[in-house]
Homo-oligomer: 463 residues x 2
């Protein structure tokens, strides 16, 4: 259907003023006096609404007056400026056609609903202001990430979701199977007969695309993956989801400094893109969700990120151990409270912490010359803590094999990965950005369930 | 590292000629005479290679001469024009530093390898010309799709991968579980106790994001999802994969014609984008993979797609039944041979077939007034057959419930979906584009295993 969008009207108002337009959308409210009435219309293309004035000269005046919140209508009329009113213009309707009514028990009435309640109606909550803003920003944020990497010639690799290997041994995984659970086939030794499973072996949902990405980086130099990843962790927190999206770039001929430069440039690009392309939504978050949001994001765009080694960071934090639930010491993993203290209190801006003890990081990270720390980096941001984790990768075959031996990893499971070090190995580095954490950071939303269209968490898999 | 890319050199050659540049990449070949030698270097950023000339004045001349295919090097030197030679320029190297050698058993020697062989080394095959071209085009194609929708204000929805519902009852699904397969818990009736599973119920991998997308279309008007989908089908063909990506737009206030216009505009946009942004790769496909490719794609960009109803198509095809393995009759599902005949022999361009018998289409498609056919469309393209399938959706609550009853679908499983028809229903439509099929169409590659970075098919889940 040829409809003018509310976005077009707001963005190019001069072009539409005093002209006839046809718009379609959903009723946010209706109020009428005896001879005329007002409809607040939202068409989904823009955060702001459009006021429609209708009159009893219309045949279906009574029908319109009775419309419930949520009804769909198509309005023809003239756009007129309203310099005295709150809204900049309104439509003087010549025709209001009801596309679809809204039953009286519509769960979204014109009042404020709690986020908890809205989580019980995921199929309708995106019609509210908050979720209009969240999911539009989420979409723009995803696009900005693609745009950033594509403009620099990165190749987007679709790493696989179903995997036969537990990449980094990273925690609990979901099993994927077509075996009959009522009657799991066993082999003659009594073990599960995975030869009968779809892939002929045990398979799981991926926890990271990194190792696959590395194979592509050694072919295309600069690559990224952006896809779903999974954790079967039994943690019912505001920050954990069982299914979430992750961005993982990987660059050949790149070291840890290149990696941090890339992460900083990417974050700034994404923030700028969202601020420019969703000003209405970002103002809404700043007013109603997180008062300091715009200041904080603008500050990030305009600061150079800080840099501190893990060892230095521990020295700083140890002096403040009285403030922490978990006391800091060299060798400990940093908790969110420590990360936030560093970025919020000490640096007052995003900061990279580098060179972590090898014991608390993954086997593939490049060993530093001290043989105690690895070339890892975490990027910490105010309000969140860690948002990005990355590293230079061990590119030396011998050192990598030695580290795998120390950790008891089976080398035959990583043949392909070791091949990359045998055939034209390069210094290379990459990182992972949790997409949902990024959206939370950009919107100020406090619960990961509210930035995922249909969240999957422990005991929760609706729709 | 600050390296000039081969792409930059090719695209802005004037800027680099007679200047010193530093490049990094992998050796495609080395040949030497006594006092100098040539390296063909590929750096992954561009389809073409760069010739490097090195001399025995270098300290490590002997080391360079011995480099194997696949070795990684960093070259410093002067870019000079070579008007007499096949290649437009070369680097006269002042320094060649070996970043990583390549072991003698490197599986990719300088000869043509079969696609079948290359499938056995998915971690290395992207270093070959064919897969450089395929996966760069795949990346550009994905980006073009995002760009197309984002430029028109569509909201990108991440529909869930793990799902508790079998959306369209569409065939075999993969089960997702954290239950112990060795000891599946049973309840007191002897049934599997899914209350103990991660989500507290039986869950599977999604086969389509459409129904979720519809909920967002009724909030944002124009939305799309672009993510992985899964089929546990036991079909070992060149066209089926267990894991593949799908694009599914959904538009409110849109009918079947709007839907076809959108599909046609999208396909043309994507083809144009790839032709413009990967001319070297597309020429390669045209020369070595599929001779008529460029003509065909240019023809598609410049034609208006044809339109024919299913009933008309059947009439046309019935006259040619002697040419088909499966004979055509009204009510039958069209096979690839029929589809290709229509688009290749009859229309000689892409064609939309519309208004299929309701019996062979899904329950949610809008019933036409004849009560026999539904407002469905398939887009057929030469060389492939069906590439897109879509429909207007049934937006009338009563008719939808009636159809679900006829088909024996449980309405309580679709509460959320029926709600969309209760609260502000709109005419709306959408389609699905199989991403891999699109990449095959754009590249002329004949096997889906060769357009997926790490393909998952029956009994095959490597890396």
């Amino acid at each position: 259907m040829k409809l003018t969008t509310v976005k077009e009207i707001y963005k190019n108002r001069e072009q539409y003023l005093d002209k006839e337009v046809t718009v379609g959308g959903w009723v946010r409210s209706v109020r009428d006096s005896k001879t005329f009435g007002f409809i607040v219309l939202h068409d989904g293309t823009f955060f702001e609404t459009l006021q429609v004035v209708y009159h009893d000269t219309m045949e279906n005046f009574a029908e319109i007056c009775k419309l419930n919140v949520g009804a769909a209508i198509i309005v023809k009329g003239t756009l007129v400026a309203t310099p005295q009113a709150k809204q900049p213009f309104e439509i003087q309707a010549s025709e209001v056609v009801v596309e679809g009514t809204s039953a009286p028990d519509y769960p979204l009435q014109k009042k404020r609903h709690s986020l908890e309640y809205l989580r019980t109606i995921t199929h309708l909550r995106s019609r509210t202001n908050t979720f209009q803003a969240v999911f539009r920003v989420r979409s723009l944020c995803a696009y900005a990430i693609h745009k950033f990497f594509q403009e620099q010639g990165f190749v987007y690799v679709h790493t696989p979701l179903i995997t036969g290997s537990d990449c980094e041994g990273a925690g609990e995984m979901f099993q994927v199977t077509t075996l009959d659970m009522n009657n799991v086939p066993k082999d003659d030794k009594g073990a599960i007969d995975y030869a009968q499973d779809f892939f002929g072996k045990e398979t799981n949902l991926t926890v990271s695309g990194q190792l696959n990405c590395e194979t592509f980086a050694q072919a295309f130099r600069n690559v990224y993956t952006f896809g779903p990843t999974f954790r079967a962790e039994n943690s019912n927190t505001t920050r954990h989801a069982a299914e979430f999206w992750m961005i993982e770039p990987e660059c050949a001929f790149a070291d840890l400094n290149d990696n941090m430069d890339l992460a900083e440039a990417m974050l700034k690009y994404v923030i700028r893109y969202v601020l420019e392309n969703a000003p209405e939504e970002m103002n809404f978050f700043n007013s109603f969700v997180d008062k300091g949001l715009l200041d904080r994001l603008n500050h990030v765009v305009n600061s150079e990120f800080g840099h501190v080694t893990y060892t230095e960071a521990v020295e700083i934090l140890e002096k403040n151990n009285d403030k922490f639930d978990y006391k800091v010491f060299w060798g400990c993993d940093l908790q969110t409270e420590h990360e936030r203290y560093l970025t919020e209190e000490i640096f007052k801006k995003p900061v990279f912490v580098t060179d972590y003890p090898k014991e608390i990081k993954a086997f593939y990270m490049k060993m530093n010359e001290d043989n105690k720390t690895v070339a890892a980096m975490d990027c910490l941001v105010p309000g969140i803590g860690e948002i990005i984790g990355g590293s230079q990768r061990e590119d030396d075959l011998e050192k990598l094999e030695k580290r795998m031996d120390e950790l008891g990893l089976k080398k035959e499971d990583y043949d392909f990965y070791l091949d990359l070090r045998k055939y034209g190995t390069t210094r290379h580095a990459g990182f992972g950005l949790g997409f949902e954490r990024c959206v939370m950071y950009l919107t100020g939303m406090g619960n990961i369930r509210d930035v995922i269209p249909f969240p999957r968490t422990v005991k929760n898999c609706d729709l």
